[in-house]
Amino acid sequence: MAISVIGEFKDPTELLKAAKQTRKAGYEAFDAHSPFPIHGMDDAMGLKGSILGWVVLCGGLTGCVAGFGLQAWVATEAYPLVISGKPLFSYQAFVPVTFEVTVLFSAFAAVFGMFGLNKLPQLYNRLFKHKSFSKKATSHGFFISIDSELSDDEVSIVEFLKSIGATNVSGVKE
């Protein structure tokens, strides 16, 4: 049965140090929780860069092609009307809407891509069973959580977290 062990740290500096030690100790499924992003934490946890930029690029290109394509098709095929003497395929006039649709699709890609990568929304999360965590993690607490697929690991992880200076250490089950 999958478990998570959570330990609390004093401040951002302590959390950063703890994250480094956790990584060094060989744990892979762990996370550092803080009320705001801490600079340097990505390096400390050994995270690779976010791939969201590529998602947004794809979204943007799709939007660009879709926006321009829609206008070109509407103006020349679906409803060809000469208006104010402009050519049917007036690509200049299509620029504003193409731009807007590109931005719209990119923004959707950014937001929903972020949700996807972060697996949000996830209303139920076993971490919330930890009392101190559920009260402080988003406001003024700094926590490390380590996941394990085996509940047998609980004791050793608790020991480890205590050894690097964590308080309020306890495990939560699924």
Partner: protein, 230 residues
């Protein structure tokens, strides 16, 4: 109303009680997202496809005050459309025939029939017959019968084989998209002017003939808004 006060009873600040969403809630967002996408597409599709004159109007065949049979008059007897609809090649409206036109024949033909009695009544009292309108164009549009008929567009293109109908019903959607379709590509609906009211007329290659006639008649159907919405 004080919502805070109302909820005070369920106070969960108590250390023992920790509020957690049940586990199944994690599946809900995906379902919601999917149903939103599918729902939106369905709404558009239903309005675009289903709620169109194609589905609402075709086959509309109201009961008329007199059981008049086009099948008999135009079909078997072969009366030309223009005999009754006198204005169809002269002005915007095709016009419903006046009682007098019916009486041209029916003062002698079948004078005792139950249906004809209604015509006689109308004739003697000067009361008009309340025909039900079948073909109704979209709102705010202008349509001229003579313009079409005189360009070689046959009655059959819009009204179908009326000469085979016992009771007339609508065969084409008469929607704006349907009008535009022909205005953009009229060739297959253009025929020599003399066959305009010959509903059974057929030719080998109507498209080819239409193209030639378009040149000959100088047909240039307008596609701008003010062609119909004037």
């Amino acid at each position: 109303m004080n919502w805070d006060g109302l909820m005070e009873k369920k106070d969960i600040s108590n250390e023992e009680e920790l509020f957690l969403f049940p586990k199944w809630t994690n599946g809900v967002p995906l379902i919601l997202a999917l149903s939103a996408v599918i729902g939106l597409c369905t709404v558009v599709f239903v309005f675009w496809y289903w709620f169109s004159p194609k589905n609402f109007n075709i086959g509309f065949a109201p009961e008329q005050p007199i059981e008049y049979s086009h099948e008999l008059h135009a079909g078997q007897l072969g009366i030309d459309c223009r005999y009754c609809h006198v204005n169809v090649d002269k002005g915007p409206a095709a016009t419903l025939p006046s009682t007098e036109i019916c009486m041209n024949c029916h003062s002698v033909v079948k004078t005792n029939s139950k249906e004809i009695l209604k015509i006689r009544e109308s004739f003697s009292e000067g009361k008009k017959i309340e025909w039900e309108q079948i073909h109704r164009l979209p709102g705010y549009s202008y349509f001229d019968h003579s313009q079409h008929v005189n360009s070689g567009v046959s009655c059959v293109s819009c009204h179908g084989r009326v000469d085979l109908m016992e009771r007339v019903y609508q065969v084409e959607p008469l929607s704006m998209g349907w009008c535009l379709e022909c205005h953009r590509n009229p060739a297959k609906n253009i025929r020599p002017k003399k066959y305009v009211t010959d509903l059974s007329w057929k030719t080998e290659n109507p498209e080819q003939l239409g193209k030639e006639l378009i040149k000959k008649y100088h047909i240039n159907p307008r596609e701008d808004c003010s062609a119909c919405h004037r």
